[in-house]
């Protein structure tokens, strides 16, 4: 607990920074009239347009529909070559067909399986590094050094080496994904562990908490805002890495994930299927990010440990 003691010594009595009321933001306190509020007068007293008074989801839906309509219109009117570009309707048909005949479902399952295994390994190793960095100075130096060196390197660049080490199979992919996930996890979580509010630590130690129970009941929840942002960054890295890696694998004739599906469709000039693959990737990305944001809303935001997701 030497670290905890070190953290205790400079007990800063200043209140925690920036606790703004709910519903506001740093440039627009909650008390002020919001766009869309009664009377339709904004912060500057300017009249709000009818557009900005619509609900957010509705505005976004309209933008989306207009974009898709434009896309369809362009493809139909210009008679774009179907072997080069696909219309949204064709893409949607391909998505539906792909899910019906199980091709996309299978590809998605393959990709997610590899991703989940890779990320799980990355998270666990990241946690171990975090513990090492929190407990020992050597561990901290190691994590800092490795993060500084390896993090800027897109982990997909390791794939050629990974293929040599593990062969042309999903182990190489898992390795690359784990590598993409370990460092953002380790750096975020160790920051979270070392910046736990010293008064909170004292309150916990006052109860006689120590060891594993201290870690489980105090340090982990206290570091959750950092852990969550670590997970979000890891997801973003992992997701991009796995698709990229599968594209590379695809040319080499391996696995069968979404990247492979896209690559394969391109090979057989099934352009709507390429679009279907892209749409699936985007939708999964959005779904997972939404889910992570929801988890954040229910935990760290609800607990006032982070202002908004």
């Amino acid at each position: 607990m030497s670290k905890a003691e070190a953290a205790l010594a400079p007990a800063d009595e200043a209140p925690k920074a920036g606790e703004l009321p709910r519903g506001g933001s740093w440039w627009r306190p909650a008390g002020l009239a919001m766009p869309g509020a009664q009377g339709g007068r904004g912060v500057a007293g300017r009249r709000q347009s009818a557009w900005s008074r619509l609900p957010t989801w509705f505005r976004r839906l309209i933008v989306f529909v207009v974009l898709v309509a434009f896309w369809q219109f362009y493809v139909t009117v210009k008679h774009v070559n179907h072997l080069v570009f696909s219309s949204p309707s064709a893409a949607m048909t391909a998505v539906i067909d792909g899910w019906r005949n199980g091709q996309i479902a299978h590809a998605t399952a393959t990709t997610l399986e590899v991703l989940v295994i890779g990320m799980a390994i990355g998270l666990v190793v990241g946690l171990l590094f975090t513990v090492a960095a929190t407990v020992t100075t050597v561990g901290k130096d190691f994590v800092m050094m490795m993060t500084a060196m390896i993090n800027p390197l897109p982990s997909i660049a390791i794939l050629p080496l990974a293929i040599i080490w593990f062969g042309l199979n999903s182990k190489a992919l898992i390795f690359v994904i784990a590598l993409a996930v370990v460092w953002p996890m380790a750096i975020n979580m160790s920051t979270g562990f070392t910046t736990v509010n010293p008064t909170l630590l004292m309150a916990a130690r006052n109860l006689g908490l120590h060891g594993s129970r201290m870690i489980r009941d105090v340090l982990i929840p206290a570091a959750l805002p950092y852990t969550m942002s670590g997970i979000k960054v890891s997801w973003a890295f992992g997701w991009r890495t796995v698709i990229a890696a599968e594209l590379v694998f695809g040319t080499a004739g391996g696995s069968g994930g979404l990247g492979y599906y896209i690559n394969n469709s391109q090979y057989f000039l099934q352009i709507p299927n390429v679009f279907a693959g892209l749409i699936t990737i985007a939708v999964i990305g959005i779904a997972v990010e939404t889910m992570l944001n929801m988890v954040e809303k229910r935990t760290v935001v609800r607990w006032g440990m982070q202002r908004s997701a």
Partner: protein, 297 residues
Amino acid sequence: MEAGDVPGERDAEGPGGTMAARGSERGATERGGAEPTGAMESVLLSVDGARICYRLRKQVVTAVESATFSMDRHERLMLIGPSGCGKSTLLKAVAGFIPLAGGRITFDGHEDLTPGPDRAVVFQEFDQLFPWRTVLENVAYPLRVVGRERSEARAIAERFLEMTGLTQAADRHPHELSGGMKQRVAIARALALEPAMLLMDEPFGSLDAITRARLQRELKAIADRTRVSILFVTHSILEAMTLGDRVVVLGSPPSRVLDIVDVRGLGGPGDPRYVETQAHLHELLGATDEDLSGVEG
């Protein structure tokens, strides 16, 4: 030391009048039991030339030059002094958070103090509650840590929340409370542990006069009942005289103990001894009449 060893009421009765009334007979038996152990045993805490320093970047800052006082079992000792004189520092040292640079602190016969629930602390800072737990859980969780059953912990927590007027806020999270409410949760949490000694760092500092007076009364009732020893930091001479048995006056930093004033058995403001003691405390703290006009009623 396990908090389970600490004597105190364990039944699920309300904290109000009945217990305070029953406390007198209970206190009597306890006092009777403690007497044969002799004078040495009655000292709970002794602070002996304690010197406490902080390392501030390259410098070493002495917060407490030398503090010497002792505290009997069941005593309520008030710690008063100007801002920055090291009251919180001294309290944290007694709680076992800050090592001494010199001198000794002995609690219940032990010298190397580590933090423990036998000396429950109410910190001065507002951010001492667990943000991810509700108000109720913040009070109940420590009871689980010291080995209470879930349902029992919950019942005790509810009782102390009621006492501190927080029943309405039981399901809220700390960041949804006012500063004073947070302090009341911390007070409830410390009281619920029924420690051998309560360490309270200006616990009522952020409360309005009425809530403050009510909580002072409640604290007194609880202390009368459980006979818990209290080391209490305050800025207010009036509060020190209302709640305390004795008042330790610290001087400006680097601080030493200026005087230890007995405030037991003083009558109200009509009592000449009361007025005299108050004037003495004012003088020790270096307050002029001008400083005090309009302060402390």
